[in-house]
Symmetry: C2
Subunit: 434 residues, 2 copies
């Protein structure tokens, strides 16, 4: 582990005692940013999760206890993180340090100011969480070699599962930003065109092969101008942080529509992200080497050092009536072949510009074994091997009422830097064949 | 021609005499909306083009001469059209009628108020035109049967050029909104991965097969909520207007990258649109039947009546040193197989939401004959049949310094409703293989 600065010290404790539980996602080493509101104050504003509470940064900023360098006006009394993120990396770091010092054991400023503490600490249980950023553009990559190989084997040729361009290009495509929703938002099963093998023409109706894709996403913190690519070596400096991302996918709609321009209605009905953005700074101690890349990438995709991150990931599925969820996949971000830096360098190498708040999905994260696959398509191998849940029910794809939850965390020494949940329940399709 | 209301009367003349020239793109029957600024007043604001001038709507609104119904605060002193468009169809129609009455021959209010006229009429020649809308999402369709057939014949199988899904689905994909630029913005030739047939690995370098795609785009004026599709019969009510659109394409980058998720870097470096949005109301007299669709589309894609528009389109190419441009293609929007209404109904049928200002490209518009094809790829048949320009130079694809211009207009009786220009000059690629 790398101890870049005092915010990473594993021994740090907070005077907010719930943050010191070793199984808590939000210890003082994490300090992820999000947008929340409460029944008392329905105005969405910036908060930081710690233990079981949210620290209201708008309140701290108004009280003069937190002030991001470079801010000419308040940035935390905002309904999105974009104004704060736009201040740049030095401001993110400095604010993180200010918060770490304010919330650590022994610092009395906020702890002993009961009036302010009352206003500024909100129980997560009573808060509503909102989409943390306004997302000008959403791009989804396809950077897990295991996932690309599995899909290629199923849909094309098992002997040549990986397409020739895959080892050269961090393949990606433009997603639909408008339908990115925050964890907890119910997702309606899409209707669409489905072409069954024994039918001459497609039929219109509810998706029958509704799936998840376990992904992470990163949020662009500093964009680039049109025509000015971001070099691979510099790319991480442009990344604010990461979220969990569920790229809901209608496999039957996708299979019929995707040639030759890629997936469209199969993906555009919803993409769910977790509400807390874990900063790249908080993830720094969990940096690991990415898998070896062979052939060596073209020069514009090269970067020295380690660019993987050791993030444990799980998928949980809970049928409507089940008392508890079953874990159906356990994998890790460190398996990803292409790094976030390579994705961003490739995205911009043509001159394409990026903007503050842009969301870039990793692509489905599959590990080497079936219990580490990141989609039901792979876990049940196209529906051939149904999954048995703890409740005794079996599943090939998602049924109405099922709730799917992604979780993720980095394991530190006595603490974990967690992402919280990325959750969605499936509602029945709209009725009528229209 | 349909005379829906008095704004369509072919006999209408304006007291702005340049608007009465039969070859002018902007007669009083058009009244397209855009965003402009001037050296004297660099604040971008809403204007309407008529004849050789721009009517400054911010100035007219401030003077109380134009007031869109439903506006609770000024909407024309804005840097984008989004606040105006968000007022909805009734407001667009009413504003158009107010302007038509104010600018027509015989109305003295503005004509004889020299102080206001001085402020509110700006010569187009001295104005800078900006992107007319903030574009939350950009989608590009692929709705010309001739284009899809030509591309399929070149890249896949001439005998089965059209893929099986094409006649059932208005195929579309998500584009990159960040790099949509307004006419006149220079476009830098992209660098990217290019895989030559005789090489084992791709090389990185400037695109060698840079192309245009002649398209139109429509601007969503009224969006839909997530999970609430727009019915095909209602879809035109959601459209504010149309622009010309050049979907610049790097064919060599595209060919290597596009399998299996579609075009990405080959398209994301720039998309140019014309600055004036011609309202669907202004296009109403030019409504024609779309081509016959066989097989009959699925019910969710059906709409009674005529949904094509008779829009003449041309592509002009001017090499750096040439005195004048050569027209290299003449086609018409009426050839489009899938209608804008069908595109929007399909886009949202999965539940995907759309937003005010969303841009939807038609896809390359090719007619039935080689001189009506909408891309150099088709015109030169993959570079096999070079084109000879009026200057004597020959071209397969675009060279550095070439200027490409799309123009379009509807021909009325003694007037034309034009789109102005959609123009871009190609700059050399950034140096260095990085």
């Amino acid at each position: 582990m790398t101890l870049l600065n005092e915010t990473h010290d594993p021994k740090l404790k907070s005077w907010i005692s719930s943050a010191n539980d070793p199984s808590c996602d939000f210890p003082i080493q994490n300090l992820p940013f999000g947008i929340f509101s409460t029944a008392d104050d329905p105005q969405p504003r910036v908060g930081v999760a710690i233990g079981e509470v949210i620290v209201d940064l708008a309140a701290l900023e108004a009280a003069g206890l937190v002030s991001p360098p470079g801010a000419e006006q308040p940035v935390f009394a905002a309904a999105t993180l974009n104004p704060f993120i736009a201040l740049g990396r030095a401001a993110w770091r400095d604010t993180r340090l200010q918060l770490s010092r304010l919330l650590r054991e022994g610092t009395a400023t906020l702890r002993d100011n009961s009036a302010l503490r009352e206003r500024a600490l909100v129980k997560q249980a009573v808060a509503a969480l909102h989409l943390p950023v306004e997302i000008p553009g959403y791009t989804d990559f396809y950077s897990s070699k295991e996932h690309a190989t599995n899909v290629g084997a199923m849909f094309r040729d098992p002997k040549n599962a990986l397409l020739p361009n895959w080892l050269e290009i961090p393949i990606g495509y433009n997603g639909r930003a408008s339908s990115v929703v925050v964890s907890g938002t119910p997702v309606r099963r899409p209707n669409g065109q489905i072409k069954l093998p024994d039918q001459e023409r497609p039929a219109f109706g509810p998706c029958r092969r509704l799936d998840i894709e376990l992904e992470t996403g990163f949020i662009v913190g500093q964009g680039n101008a049109l025509g000015e690519p971001i070099a691979c070596e510099d790319a991480e400096q442009h990344i604010f942080g990461m979220v969990l991302l569920n790229d809901w996918s209608a496999r039957d709609i996708q299979q019929w529509e995707y040639v030759p321009l890629g997936p469209f209605n199969a993906k555009t009905f919803a993409t769910t992200i977790s509400p807390w953005i874990v900063t790249l700074d908080a993830l720094e101690p969990f940096r690991v080497a990415q898998p070896e890349q062979s052939p060596q990438p073209l020069p514009y995709l090269r970067h020295a050092g380690q660019h993987g991150f050791d993030i444990h990931l799980e998928v949980r599925m809970r049928p409507a009536q089940a008392a508890r969820a079953s874990t159906i996949s356990r994998t890790n971000f460190k398996y990803m072949y292409w790094t976030m830096a390579q994705q961003l360098a490739h995205h911009t190498v043509s001159g394409c510009n990026t903007r503050v708040g842009d969301l870039m999905g990793s692509g489905t994260i599959s590990g080497p074994t079936p219990d580490s696959y990141g989609s039901l398509l792979e876990i049940t191998w196209g529906g051939k091997h149904p999954l048995t849940l703890d409740s005794g029910e079996s599943r090939t794809f998602i049924e109405d009422g099922d709730e799917l939850t992604l979780v993720g965390w980095c394991q530190g020494d006595g603490y974990r830097v967690g992402f919280g949940e990325c959750r969605g329940e499936i509602l029945p399709a709209l009725p009528g064949a229209r």
